[in-house]
Amino acid sequence: MEARIGLRNTKSILFKSLIIFLAFVITIPLIIVLLYIIKQGVTQVNWHFLTKIPAPVGEAGGGIANALLGSFIIVAAASVIAIPIGMLAGIYLSENGRTRLAYYAGLCVDVLQGVPSIVIGIVVYFWLVKPMGTFSAISGSIALAIMMLPIVIRATEQTLLLLPPSLKEAALSLGVPYHRVILKVVVPCGFAGILSGITLSIARIIGETAPLLFTAFGNPYLSTSLSKPMETLPHVIFTYATSPYDDWHNLAWGASFILLLFVLILNIFTKLLTRKWKIQL
């Protein structure tokens, strides 16, 4: 009997060690990738790199100013589209959880969350690029906005469901109209939670490349026009990474570093916001 308990205990300890080993080993690839990008990228980044547009092949120098500006414009436009729709739909879902419309809308959110990004690229190509006759920044923004929507909706919905109903009831009993109760009482109370959903969704889409391949496409020159093709950070990494030139690879490492920096900052920001709200995103 003693021996058996010994065996069982050993088994338990072995299992625990295995679990700990596997759980921590998986962080190694991430750390290697991060360190490698930082090592390769940090030497590339300087003022010139951030403010100049790409140089023609063979010429030294050149930067990613067009991609930085492009990413900013496209993500900003996507946010302008997705945040209001997402918040309002999220409010509807949290307020009317039991209606048939809410059920189907919720199903659609699940569906949207699962759609591969490349498929969204194809669809937006047929919705906008083909009718307009040209690749355009706005089509890229709409593709990214579709990807943002489910995250913003779920964050809004879950945050508002966490608020005590007495909050809303108190405001309603004072005779405040419904829309003001929602906009002036409920939403401000859940603001941190909703904001964390927004920053998380931006962190997700800022690195998305696939939907931009057929929509915003890319542009070697500085462009601010929403109806013209526009360069973005992830797309510049893709084109330079697949090019045969060492200079361009170096530019791509620099661009990867900047992109990674944005993503990390947005994620840390999200973490700080969600610390208060125990929502699952």
């Binding site: 679990i19 998986i26 990738v33 739909a89 809308a105 699940d110 990004s117 993503v263």
Partner: protein, 323 residues
Amino acid sequence: MEKKDDINSFAKKAKVTLQMKNKRLDLSHSQMKWETIFRRILIVMSVILLILVGGILITLIMQSMPSIKSLGLGFLWGKVWDPVNNIYGAYPFLIGTLLTSFTALIISIPFSYAVSIYLGEYNSKGWLSELLKNTIELIAAVPSIIYGFWGLFVLVPIIRSFEAKIGVAPYGVGIFTSSLVLAVMIIPYAASLGTSLIRMVPSPLKEGAYALGATRFEVIRSVVLPYTRSGLFAGILLSLGRALGETMAVTLLIGNTSQLANSFKNIFFGPGNTMASVIANEFTEADHTVYLSALIELGLVLFLVTVIINVIGKRIISGYTNN
């Protein structure tokens, strides 16, 4: 005279009060109007979601009609993809997608289970647990293009020398390489869900098992894992959904050939193509209707498969959280 003034001023006052009253009435009217408008806006925004998803499905079906009509169902198991000679078969991409996704999934399962069990059961509080949790979440945050770029320049040479050693053609890029990178990328989806589910296992169940003299391993094996089985399965489904639709990292690493090699070993270690990667590579080059439409049909298949997988996964999870 004075009296008249009095009456006049009184009338004026009355008029003013009446106006104010009307205004207040108007205000509440406009408030009411706004309330209805606001409710309608909320409904419209939710309807937009239905239109969006319906629109995506209809667009994909409409645009893949030419290929469905001219190629029929045989499209899915046609073995040759040769756009130059107008021959379209999706079989190489189906094989490529299934092989990369399932290899990645099999590699990732032990790790995501380990993370879930560690964070859910062994060490669910404290700084070390928080640190590991945030690190795992960070894996999902890094854009896939960065994994692809890193893999192309760091992992591919390593794989190439490995392949030379085991005696297969040393391409470096290929299905095997893509699976490795994919495996890392999809771990967080199953792991974070698994963690929260394992934390939800009621402690009386575990305490009961401990009281019967079970060791920690036995509690995990015969209480925790059976209790969370379908939830952990849902997490794996979500990971699979990610793996199937993942585009950029795979496109950079898979080598992009549409020809199937002759033996399984050569397929597995050699270059290939997935449904997503062939769309990414050839969509803007597709110069005639059936070619483009065949690519969209691939997108349609991808859409349907990932949507079904995701919705099933989500339903299982919501069943959990409701109980």
